[in-house]
């Protein structure tokens, strides 16, 4: 598995270097892979790249926690009460397709400038997929398992902990995966548009800055580093969790 994990990046690097050697694009726009690696190494060594990445990650986690709580709450209420289901379903239908960036001017107008703007945009991008997946996870629990719970006199707390939650887990986890991808998109684009407030900037700002200063290899390095994060998290975290859960449990919920 470790070898397969490296297969695609290796193929990509070869392809890139081939394109570079063919000199189809000017080297200023399309630098060699070595130059990119050298510059990325320098950015790693200076701490610039790491700091930017950690900063973006911090924003994502700051947004993940309230979104998970909010998503759970909304899903719980909508499963329990048809009245709140109508509200949350309408809200999700209206808000989910709306790109977070479209909220930028409104958020600035309402809440002023600050780092909280980026967090709010990321919350918007992950709250809805969280809610939708958690809700459908709860709603799709087979009646058979609930009947089995009733047969054995499970109380409300036990039914939630021992049946609903594990039964909905694959769907909830799929929501977290979607949320993770959406969060990166949102944080990178918000940082690029918004730039930096104060001294710190995230990975999006790093990439944008590199372009401004015509450090093309560093810019590519930032993008590749972002892709690498995605690949590593997918291979070494998400897939591991899925192997232990959804796939082992029958794979009906497995989604990529």
């Amino acid at each position: 598995m470790k070898i397969r994990f490296l297969l695609w990046p290796a193929a990509f690097i070869l392809f890139w270097q081939l394109l570079y050697l063919l000199e189809i694009f000017p080297p200023l726009v399309f630098p060699s892979i070595w130059e990119i690696l050298r510059q990325t190494g320098a950015d790693l060594a200076s701490g610039e790249l790491i700091k930017g990445t950690l900063y973006s990650l911090l924003v994502i986690f700051a947004a993940f926690i309230p979104s998970l709580i909010g998503g759970f709450l909304m899903a719980f209420l909508s499963v329990k009460f048809s009245f709140s289901e109508r509200i949350t379903e309408t809200a999700a239908a209206l808000a989910h397709p709306l790109p977070g960036i479209a909220l930028l001017p409104i958020l600035i107008l309402w809440t002023g400038l600050g780092i909280h703007i980026i967090v709010l945009i990321v919350i918007h991008s992950v709250l809805w997929p969280f809610y939708i997946n958690i809700r459908s996870g709860f709603k799709d629990v087979p009646r058979l398992w609930l009947d089995f719970g009733k047969n054995n006199s499970l109380n409300g707390r036990e039914e939630f902990l021992y049946i609903l939650l594990p039964a909905a887990f694959p769907s909830i986890f799929a929501g977290v995966k979607i949320g993770w991808a959406r969060a990166w998109r949102a944080v990178i684009s918000a940082e690029m548009i918004f730039g930096t407030i104060g001294s710190a900037g995230g990975l999006g700002w790093f990439i944008y800055n590199k372009r401004i200063f015509m450090d093309t290899p560093g810019m590519y390095g930032g993008v590749f580093f972002l892709m690498l994060i995605g690949l590593v998290v997918e291979t070494f975290l998400f897939r591991k969790i899925e192997k232990r859960t959804a796939i082992r449990w029958g794979g009906t919920h497995v989604s990529s």
């Binding site: 058979l144 009947d147 089995f148 009733k150 054995n152 499970l154 887990f169 449990w249 029958g250």
Partner: protein, 254 residues
């Protein structure tokens, strides 16, 4: 001693403007250790009756009493086994599925906390149901027949007084079905539970049960018939065939 008693039980479903009557003023009593098949064509109300007996449905009129007290909800002393082979909890191993009804809050550490008696009971049941080598399997890795074995083991480990079985073997291939019928019979002989077994298969009812509740589609009350065939019952014997024909003609004439 009669311990499950049905008195004056009526039940109907709304259909369009009217109601489709499934049961009307049914009286029935089961003694401890009875094996009663509920037999009839599809859609006649067999499963509805089972859900009424097991407390999943409330009667419109009349009542079901267990050892003298009126049933109003499902109860762990009456374990239900469904037709659907997906009734096991897929996130739990075979062993933990079996432990769940009684030890759900201990799963993961249950092995350490089981009493000597319960551990012995678990091992015996897993052994008798042929599940010892599947202890750590998950239901997705099991065949339909094995899954129903686990369901059976799970119900038995819950130490029930009554087993409610809703066509549990209907989706299995013939050999597994035959195997599981025998397994159920042998376990029942030792366990002494009262069994209600829903089936639409006359042969299955004749092989398994001592009493049969014969349904027809016309909404009139089902007929209680005693099975006098001596066990072990051989489906190829002359007597068996005669009895089967008699039941067929009963269903037709009703």
């Amino acid at each position: 001693m009669s311990h499950l008693k049905v008195e004056n039980l009526s039940f109907s479903y709304p259909v369009g403007d009217g109601r489709h009557i499934v049961l009307e003023k049914l009286d029935l009593s089961a003694d401890k250790g009875d094996f009663i098949s509920i037999l009839g064509p599809s859609g006649c109300g067999k499963s509805t009756l089972l859900r009424l007996l097991s407390g999943f449905l409330r009667p419109e009129e009349g009542q079901v009493t267990l050892n003298g007290s009126i049933l109003s909800s499902p109860f762990p002393e009456g374990q239900m086994i469904f037709q659907d082979t997906n009734q096991l909890l897929p996130w739990l191993s075979v062993e933990n599925n079996i432990l769940f009804p009684r030890f759900r809050s201990l799963l993961g550490s249950a092995e350490k906390k089981l009493s000597e008696n319960d551990r012995l009971l678990l091992e015996t049941i897993m052994d008798k149901t042929g599940l010892l080598s599947f202890r750590h399997h998950f239901s997705a890795q099991l065949s339909g027949g094995l899954k129903q074995r686990v369901s059976l083991a799970r119900a038995i480990f819950a130490q029930p007084q009554i087993l409610f079985l809703d066509e549990p073997f209907v989706s299995l291939d013939a050999p597994s079905r035959y195997e599981l019928q025998n397994l159920l019979l042998n376990l029942w002989k030792k366990g002494g539970w009262t069994v209600f077994f829903v089936t639409h298969d006359i042969s299955e009812a004749l092989i398994l049960s001592d009493k049969m509740l014969l349904f027809t589609g016309d909404g009139k009350g089902p007929l209680l018939i005693t099975n006098f065939l001596e066990s072990p019952r051989d489906p190829h014997s002359e007597q068996f065939r005669k009895e089967k024909l008699r039941l067929y003609s009963l269903i037709d004439s009703l």
